[in-house]
Amino acid sequence: MINLTVNEQPVTVPEGTTILQAVRAAGVELPTLCFHEGLAPYGACRLCMVSIAAPRHALVASCAYPVEEGLAVETNSPEAVSARRLALEFLLSRCPQSEVIQEMAAQEGVTASRFGTPPPERAEELCVLCGLCVRVCREAIGAAAIGFIGRGMERRVGTPFDIQAATCIGCGACAEICPTKAIKIEDRGNKRILHTWHTTVELHKCPQCGKLFAPEPMAFLGEMFPEIEEQWALCPECRRARTAQQWVEQRFTSPA
């Protein structure tokens, strides 16, 4: 176990914990956009900046910094606060229309950005380039259907050549994990349309009730996990109904 202090309050956490996790374990709040506990630390959004006063003085991204013995973390030092506010000013300048960013900024006392507003063609921009969608698709799903494209001002997320991604399974994890709701996905008819990725996949129909409930390319899950293969065929409601039915039958037909 590692002993450290967060705002002078002692905390003990297992080795390998990040400062961010330790801070949150101590009940202290820190904003994040690019952090997700299921994915490797990335350090892109710079919202979780904290000062460390010992063993040496530094300003660090807490999500990517492993704890060490004797660490003294200060979340509200003037430099940490100003680093977070600066990051928020940049984000606000990029995505002035994003309610999520507006709220986060307001919480840190940032209501305006010194860095201007985006050009008209990007006025509606919601993507903060946190990379969560790219990373969940690559790290957790394993499809790697999307990636960063270009660099600098032109950097954005998209599919190779901006056409239908052959490896996309239509799971929607990208839209689910997006902190600023920048990814547009819609189920229309028997299709799931991932507008942002110029990609469309077929939806699987429940053989019992006819409801469309999962993208066809995800059928591989049924083959991968034989124990769910039979259930995979049914939609969640039919599956639940059947399980309940089985339970009731079992309960009232066999001696208790």
């Binding site: 690559r138 790290e139 799903i141 790697a144 990636g147 960063f148 494209i149 270009g150 050549f161």
Partner: protein, 157 residues
């Protein structure tokens, strides 16, 4: 662990070396070559595309047979590099990064080629032309067009 089993990681650096090889072979990165590279190296296409779009050294447009680099480094800029570029743009009808319709020239800008004493400087296929003036450009361009024996029909400048 990802849900979908992953291939073993490729040898480090293999991707960029491959992209350089493709770019050297074709003068740009054709889509089908990138798809093949992704498959052969076992790298996701999204990652190949990411790297390919990140580096300015790679082009997605077919390139001209001659590449013109106009220097806009500090010394060349002060001594009229911008005027050279304007003249090239108006004579060839392309902007930096673009290629003429006849695929003869691709125009690009650079920031210093280390020949500041000869500023303003322009390089064509690695040949450096120094102390340039805009009115000398047509003659240089003509030289490269004349070098091309047969093949493409070019009007002189």
């Amino acid at each position: 662990m990802p849900l979908i089993p992953q291939p073993p990681p490729p040898a480090g650096g293999a991707l960029l070396a491959r992209l350089h090889a493709i770019n050297a072979e074709y003068g740009y990165l054709p889509e089908e070559e990138l798809r093949r590279a992704a498959e052969e190296l076992g790298v996701p296409l999204s990652q190949v595309y990411s790297a390919a779009t990140f580096y300015a050294a790679f082009s997605f447009q077919p390139r001209g047979r001659h590449t013109i680099h106009v220097c806009l480094g500090t010394a060349c800029y002060i001594r009229g590099g911008e005027k050279l570029l304007e003249k090239l743009e108006s004579t060839l009808g392309v902007r930096p990064g673009e290629t003429t319709d006849d695929r003869a020239f691709t125009v690009e800008t650079v920031h210093c080629v280390g020949s500041c004493s000869m500023s303003p400087v322009m390089r064509v296929d690695g040949d450096t032309y120094g102390r340039l003036r805009a009115d000398l450009l047509p003659r240089i361009l003509r030289k490269y067009r004349e070098q091309e024996a047969g093949g493409v029909s070019d009007e002189g400048m």
